[in-house]
Amino acid sequence: MSHEVTVGLEIHQQLNTRKLFCNCPSCLVEEEGATFQRRLRPIQSEEGKIDRAALDQAERKMQFRYQSPSSASCLVEADEEPPHDASSEAIDVALTVAALLGAKPLDEIYFMRKLVIDGSNTTGFQRTAMIALDGFLEVNGRRISIDTLCLEEDAARKVETDGSEITYRLDRLGIPLIEIATAPDMHSPEEVKEVAQRIGSIMRATRKVKRGIGTIREDVNISIPGGARVEIKGVQELRMLPTYVEKEMERQQSLLAIRDILSGRGIEPVAIEVTDLTYLFEGCKSKVITSALKSGGKVMVSRLPGFTGVLRSEDGKLRLGAEMAQYARTKGVRGIFHSDELPAYGIEKQYVDAIRDALKLGPQDAFALCAASAAKAREALKTAVERANGALVGVPEETRDPLPDGSSVYSRPLPGADRMHPETDVLPISVPTDRMENILSNLPELPEIRIERIANDYGIHIQQSTQLVREGWDDVFEEIATDNELAALAARTLTSTLSELEREIDISQLNENILKAAFAGVSSGTFAKEAVPDVLRKMAEGMNIDEAVSELGLSAMSADEAREIVARVIREREDFVREKGKAAIGPLMGPVMAELRGRLDGKAANELLREELQKLLS
């Protein structure tokens, strides 16, 4: 049976321990610290080959600047001191997760050097070790295989890119990461998200993983039948996973459509030719062209015979031109233009016609244009035309960066397989039977057990506790829910209020501390539980709890003030009250609560209403 899509996941989760190879705390800091500059160069592998991805990086001739804050990095991160022994706490967490996933740990763990010369590791490699193999999990009755579980060091944090210099901060470098790779067993966008959530909740069960944005990152390997493996690297927003999968499916489908069109036209691979047509652009008003020419650049053009209509189709569905531009940008140009999108951007028809004449292009022939320094433009067009030729074959294997809207952009070729060398500075770690037995006899509460316990202990619905655990709110919930009433409120807030808010505003600011502060306001009586959504809305906008309370006019209401409001509400409806008697309490709660605007909680308001009603009726 052929699936519509095949997806494998690689999940990277930061651990909340000290760093993997030194005793620095695993935290991100504001401090920049001392800076230093380095270069990295590819090294020969055993067979004298230089890794494809490594070479690609080296060709970009980057120079790296590192900020080394002393609050979160030491000589080890600066590659000025050999790594210490691997953190045994981190290894224990990895072994625990392995046990929870039914994966079999290796008997001896060997750290390797995975070559990465984009500067994100000062050493030029990432240290990584295989911890366990062959686990599995079940999601919606389907068995998803876990191929591998590795423990590795996180990379340095990119702070700035300035021309050919990239600045990194070393605070993140060395934070332990568990990397879990699934088999390509997922076949729908929604399933990808569910598997990621499930793995996330299993890792959180150890209570030794970091929480919050950026602490868990997913690499998604996606292919459709006839397509190719494309890796979208570093997705941070779990809820966006289905969108990335859907958009990549569409992208691969459109590339296959382009391939069919080109093969129907009988197009052969294009010979790479770059022609200097600067002389045609005198008087051209395009900002891109004029600014390039002003700084001594050239306007270079390459022929793309037979490519008209696939660079950008009328309906916008075929977009080979955008793919080519992404490749071109890796050569340091701001972009390219192609004939399907011209005239536009200040390049008028007369110039397009002049190019067509100069290159003797027929109606189905396209071209790509780049205005930049001669050398850069030449390199950029060469890469762009190579990418165009790739369209004759179909979908190229590649690594892509996720964009916030759920699409992705080309970043580099898929790394080759020959980039692992033994890390000779770190001794192998033996996993003796007693270590594993100790881990197995101290396994943390599994998510499904936790779900049931939380539902029972706090008297909330099983669906609510399921959602709390799946979305990782269970810890906060248990801290907030000090009694059953608060439990009900916390469960409702964390499972439904937040997602309602999310539909309207950005709630990424609402972290655990903010939620705890809001609930502290409720339990201390500062404001009523009815005001929680409004308070959270204000806090999501960046207010602190006091500001939110005062902005909403929620400052504590005196008993007299409240009683007066209740009495007024009753007076205004005196006829109704006299007619209904005590049965008026129910219908009156609405108007009373509206008047109190969350400054008194429902129970207290109900009490007041009952008392005032009694007064009137007696």
Binding site: R41, E46, E47, D107, Y110, M420
Partner: protein, 424 residues
């Protein structure tokens, strides 16, 4: 291991380990030095090495016998017509390569291996690469110093533009000082360089150090024995130190090497720009007449509080020369003075240096110092203790005349003594 013997598996073979819940295939690796005897190490397709303990219920099968891989060496273009530079390998981090099969770091073996570590250097000069020997610097001996000095002298006398010596960093400053005294006046620079990070890693400092050494030979008019290493954690500049004044001051940093009591001779930027910070001997056409003699019966003693006078006496009585690394301005427990006086009277030469490293010995200030002087101890002034040790071996190797040796020790031959120490 008996199981391996029974299936006749060898390192490099592709094997499959199955049973007991495992099914792992990969290339058999040599087992680690610290591995459990029942553990097989296998490189999986993903590139990961994993260790698997073989139990009686498991099967190990050979899937394919390993092929013997030869590493194609990249022979760089020889740079004919460019200035000639000799690159001499001695071993150490800079000229070592990691054996991908075993993961162990090995010293480079051939001249080609040497050049392969930094092939770009052939773009700027015509390289004569020679692996003189291949040992870790902690294993370096006096015989090695002599051999190296001889080879270096031959290259210099052949009209070469400079000699680069690749050396392990641990004892680099000893070798540098030894070459400095043995070679005497030299016409062209001899630059000793190394790496604090092996050249099998992308972040190695080897490339910049070696390339900068060639650049310095080509663009500077200095002709001394020099040590060139990183100047900071950055790859943007290197420092060039006088051989007799430099010391490894950190176990692992790139900028471990520092000049003590003087500035580095020069700093060289990544654009090839040179800033000179001290005066230096200039290039010439002088012919090198190496004086290789070294007295091996020289002891180098660090004084410490509580040092046993008996042990001390035993050591100094058995040697023709003794260098003491004393406290502060150059002191030892006054109880040790008597045995020193006795040794000196019987012909031993004793030189006092300071374990402070920075600053000069001065035996005039305190009575202990004056007693040492009257016992006949020579002040090593601001010489590094290691330099004083090498110099004393060399001086005793040149003459048996103690008066002459005392004269040599007091003379500033290769910049090892400085008469001014500045505020910064």
């Amino acid at each position: 291991m008996s199981m391996l013997q029974s299936i006749d598996a060898a390192e490099g073979d592709t094997i499959r380990i199955s049973g007991d819940g495992r099914d792992i295939s990969g290339v058999l690796q040599p087992s680690g030095e610290f591995s459990h005897p029942d553990v097989l190490v296998v490189k999986m397709d993903s590139g990961y090495d994993v260790g698997v303990r073989i139990t009686p219920s498991m099967n190990v099968n050979i899937i394919a016998k390993g092929e013997v891989k030869t590493i194609p060496s990249r022979v760089p273009s020889k740079g004919k017509g460019l200035p000639r530079v000799a690159i001499l390998g001695t071993g150490g981090t800079i000229s070592s390569y990691a054996d991908q099969r075993t993961g162990a770091v090995h010293p480079a073996l051939s001249a080609e291996d040497l050049l392969n570590t930094v092939p770009e250097i052939a773009d700027i000069c015509d390289v004569n690469a020679e692996a003189v020997f291949s040992i870790f610097s902690e294993n370096m001996s006096v015989d090695n110093w002599q051999q190296l000095a001889e080879v270096t002298a031959d290259y210099l006398n052949s009209g070469i533009d400079g000699v680069i010596i690749l050396h392990g960093t641990d004892t680099m400053s000893y070798t540098a000082a030894a070459l400095s005294f043995m070679l005497g006046d030299i016409p062209k620079p001899v630059i000793i360089t190394g790496a604090q990070r092996s050249s099998d890693r992308p972040s190695s400092d080897a490339y910049i150090n070696l390339y900068s050494a060639a650049q310095f030979i080509l663009s500077s008019d200095a002709a001394e024995v020099l040590v060139l290493m990183h100047d900071s954690p950055s790859d943007t500049s290197v420092a060039v130190h006088r051989a007799t004044k430099v010391r490894k001051m950190h176990t692992s940093r790139r900028d471990a090497f520092q000049s003590i009591n003087i500035s580095p001779i020069a700093k060289l930027g990544s654009e090839g720009d040179i800033a000179y910070l001290e005066s230096y001997n200039q290039k010439s056409n002088v012919r090198v007449s190496p004086r290789l003699g070294m007295e091996k019966d020289v002891a180098f003693i660090q004084y410490y509080p509580g040092m046993s006078p008996t042990i001390f006496e035993n050591i100094i009585a058995k040697n023709k020369g003794v260098v003491i690394s004393g406290t502060g301005l150059g002191h030892v427990n006054s109880e040790l003075i008597k045995p020193m006086r006795k040794a000196i009277e019987s012909g031993t030469v004793i030189v006092m240096t300071s374990q402070c490293l920075s600053g000069s010995v001065n035996l005039n200030v305190y009575s202990t110092g004056r007693d040492l002087l009257s016992a006949g101890v020579i002040s090593g002034e601001d010489m590094l203790p290691e330099t004083a040790y090498v110099k004393l071996m060399w001086a005793l190797g040149q003459t048996d005349d103690v008066v002459e040796v005392r004269k040599i020790m007091a003379s500033n031959l290769r910049g090892e003594l400085s008469d001014r120490r500045l505020m910064q």
